[in-house]
């Protein structure tokens, strides 16, 4: 067999493992596989059972895996997360859902005071292998409490890990990975990206920890996560028209943050803009800017810029295009960095 034929066959074999899925379908498939392979897993939340979730993420799972493993809960997030604590203590691997980001607030006590520190409090005898799925961020014209960005809140709590996938491939693999961890993981699903399809290679996850370069570039690094990654990729294409070669770094893990990936990328490009939907003040962009400054202070061409939501409550759907960083606001952030001259 010639070398090229072998290469073609290998490419073919890989293609069979690669399927085009929306993030919605990728998450559904991941949950199905987790339930099939780990008998200790239970999936539950408001409308997760019979209805299959308001975003169809748990569609068909109750019919397949039974009402004792995939079930509906009352409309009480403190109960959903409180029950998760008990289930985890009893040896289960709960994958609860809070239906929307803003509904996590009533469960903050259970998340912060119990889930995050039970392992610490019990000297390692009561780990909390809980993966909390939170449909997150804005962009779908939903009412109040349905478009919040809670990553800085969760990342601030010792004992929690926080991750947000930006495409179907990462959504599929990161959910399976998160569910296999002994620690609690807040899994932030960018709900405005639920419907866009992408290639999911089910056989080759690639690295599951740390950040990921989604577009290499030489002049400036855009740091983003969740739904902002796709927007930053659009911005990078537009910047290329103006001769600016932008690197896009998908942070993925928001706790712990991959400081090494930030140092490597910005060490090369010497300019950075961090983009997030959450409000500016005490947002995760500040943490990212500090990590970059710490490692790249001597070579940075300009202070790290932040392009973010505003310090106001998340607005109604009619105004969210003004709130979420848009292409022009990100381009202006890039321009400010490019223009900066040391005084």
């Amino acid at each position: 067999m010639s070398e090229s034929t072998t290469a073609l066959l290998e490419a073919g074999a890989r293609d069979e493992q690669s399927v085009k899925l929306s993030m919605q379908q990728a998450l559904n498939r991941a949950l199905d596989e987790i339930l099939s392979t780990d008998p200790k897993t239970v999936v539950f939340g408001e409308d997760c059972g019979q209805l299959g979730g308001v975003f169809r993420i748990t569609d068909g799972l109750q019919a397949k895996h039974g009402e004792s493993r995939v079930f509906d809960t009352p409309l009480a997030e403190s109960g959903i997360l409180g029950m998760s604590v008990g289930l985890a203590m009893a040896g289960f691997h709960p994958i609860p859902e809070v239906q929307f980001d803003g509904f996590a607030y009533p469960a903050i006590n259970q998340i912060v005071c119990q889930i995050a520190r039970m392992n610490y409090r019990s000297r390692g005898t009561l780990p909390m292998p809980i993966t909390l799925r939170v449909p997150s961020f804005g962009g779908i014209r939903a009412p109040e409490h349905h478009g919040e960005s809670l990553e800085a809140l969760f990342a601030h709590v010792p004992g929690l890990k926080v991750v947000s996938p930006s495409d179907p491939h990462d959504a599929y693999h990161l959910l399976k990975y998160a569910a296999s961890r002994p620690d609690p993981v807040i899994f932030m699903e960018p709900k405005s990206r639920y419907w866009q399809k992408g290639d999911v290679d089910t056989s080759d996850a690639g690295p599951l920890t740390g950040a990921r370069i989604v577009r290499p570039g030489r002049h400036l690094t855009l740091v983003a996560w969740g739904a902002m990654v796709a927007r930053c990729l659009q911005v990078a294409e537009l910047a290329a028209e103006d001769g600016i070669d932008v690197e896009v770094l998908d942070l993925r893990w928001l706790k712990p943050i991959d400081a090494e990936a930030l140092a490597t990328s910005v060490g090369k490009t010497r300019r950075a803009v961090v983009v997030h939907e959450a409000p500016l003040t005490s947002g995760l962009g500040a943490e990212v800017a500090q990590l970059i400054t710490q490692s790249c202070f001597d070579t940075l061409k300009a202070p790290v810029e932040r392009v973010t939501g505003f310090d106001v409550p998340y607005p109604s759907g009619d105004l969210e295009d003004e709130y979420i960083p848009n292409i022009d606001r990100i381009l202006l952030g890039i321009q400010r960095v490019l223009e900066y001259r040391r005084g």
């Binding site: 929306s22 962009g139 779908i140 709900k191 202006l332 490019l338």
Partner: protein, 109 residues
């Protein structure tokens, strides 16, 4: 395409079942939200049940005269995979629009 099952909803007043009087739609019909689906009779009254959503009807349960319990399947819809959740809309992936242009002299030192 995805299938969504619509079970007989709780009709209130402690009713636990209803009898099908007449179907107003057939499998294959494309229905709009709030379009009447079926005439039902309970021990209290006769009523028309509106559709909870738009979609294509692919199965109906219960012939006229048959009784269905609350929570049992009534209608199964077929909807496109990219149908929005119950809250919100599916964002459009429009071609990116820009007004800002970048200008920079990059000193490659």
């Amino acid at each position: 395409m995805a299938e969504i099952s619509f079970p007989l909803p709780d009709l209130g007043e402690g009713l636990i079942e209803a009898t099908v009087l007449d179907w107003l739609v057939s499998p294959g019909d494309q229905v709009e939200r709030n379009q009447p689906l079926v005439e039902l009779e309970t021990s209290k009254s006769a009523l028309e049940l509106p559709s909870p959503q738009a979609g294509k009807v692919i199965r109906i349960h219960g012939a006229p005269g048959e009784t269905i319990n609350v929570g049992e399947p009534l209608v199964v819809f077929e909807v496109p995979d990219n149908t929005a959740g119950i809250v919100g809309t599916v964002p459009k992936d429009d071609a990116p629009k820009r007004r800002v242009r970048l200008s920079a002299v990059l000193d490659e030192d």
